[in-house]
Amino acid sequence: MGDPKTLQALAEALSKSGVVDEAQRSEVLSIVEREFSDFSKRIDALNQHIVATVNDASRLTGSEGSVEERLAYVLEMTQNAANTTMDEVDAISSITDDDEIQKHAQNILVAQGYQDLCGQFLQQIIQLINQLHEGLNRLGESASSAGLKAPGTAPVGDADGASAEGPQLKTASANKVAHNQDDVDDLLSDLGL
């Protein structure tokens, strides 16, 4: 595109400087104009790509419900399933005096804790997708109006103290994470608890 005002200013500056003759001046200008045009084409292509990507992403919020809604449904389904299982455990426990059966029933009950842990991961993912959508929307707006702008997304989390971070993946920063109850107990006993 080669902004005409910029080129005009550059031509005048070159003339005033006196360090280039007419032939050199027009060569410089034509190089600048060519580079401008090439750069401008690339920016246009990038803008189109971004707009298309944003449109693709918004298709995820189609007739079958948004990704967030679908994940929230999974959350609800696991909760219902865990409750059904616990209802059955209660039923079994109430009709037997057998200690072995009671023990296994209790193990089944405690195992339903998976719903809490998976649920926390799902909540984190839902939050991330929301942020991604917001970021893409801002990017799309920028691309389709005034060219590229930094989206200016702020990372989540607070600076002071230890914030809640949810369950830790086993691979996450090995030394900073207690991997089991024994690790927790060791740490607490170091602290005099």
Binding site: M86, L109, G113, D116, L117, A162, G166, V177, V184
Partner: protein, 128 residues
Amino acid sequence: MNKDMKILVVDDFSTMRRIIRNLLRDLGFTNTQEADDGQTALPMLKSGGFEFLITDWNMPGMTGIDLLKNVRADPELAALPVLMVTAEAKKEQIVEAAQAGVNGYVVKPFTAGVLEEKIAKIFERIDG
């Protein structure tokens, strides 16, 4: 350890509240109530009568660590035994909870045995 003591179980997941309350019932503690975050729990605690608090950390509204700090800052509640049962497993978090005055810390996923052991340990210290 008084089996009739009133216990408050705080967790934003109803599944986990039910698991903990059932385990407490299996241990003989039948006088339990529940809340889904610190904001709901704090007025319940202030209304009196609770002798033990079991709380999650990561909850909307008021988190468990803030609930713990509020409890310790309230002269009426300051001595309440608090057990944290949470998936938060970073060492800095465990240290922060200890510094805030937690009496015990159980990481999820946990077993019935671990829960029983930590509760027993807390009351051994208090009663002993």
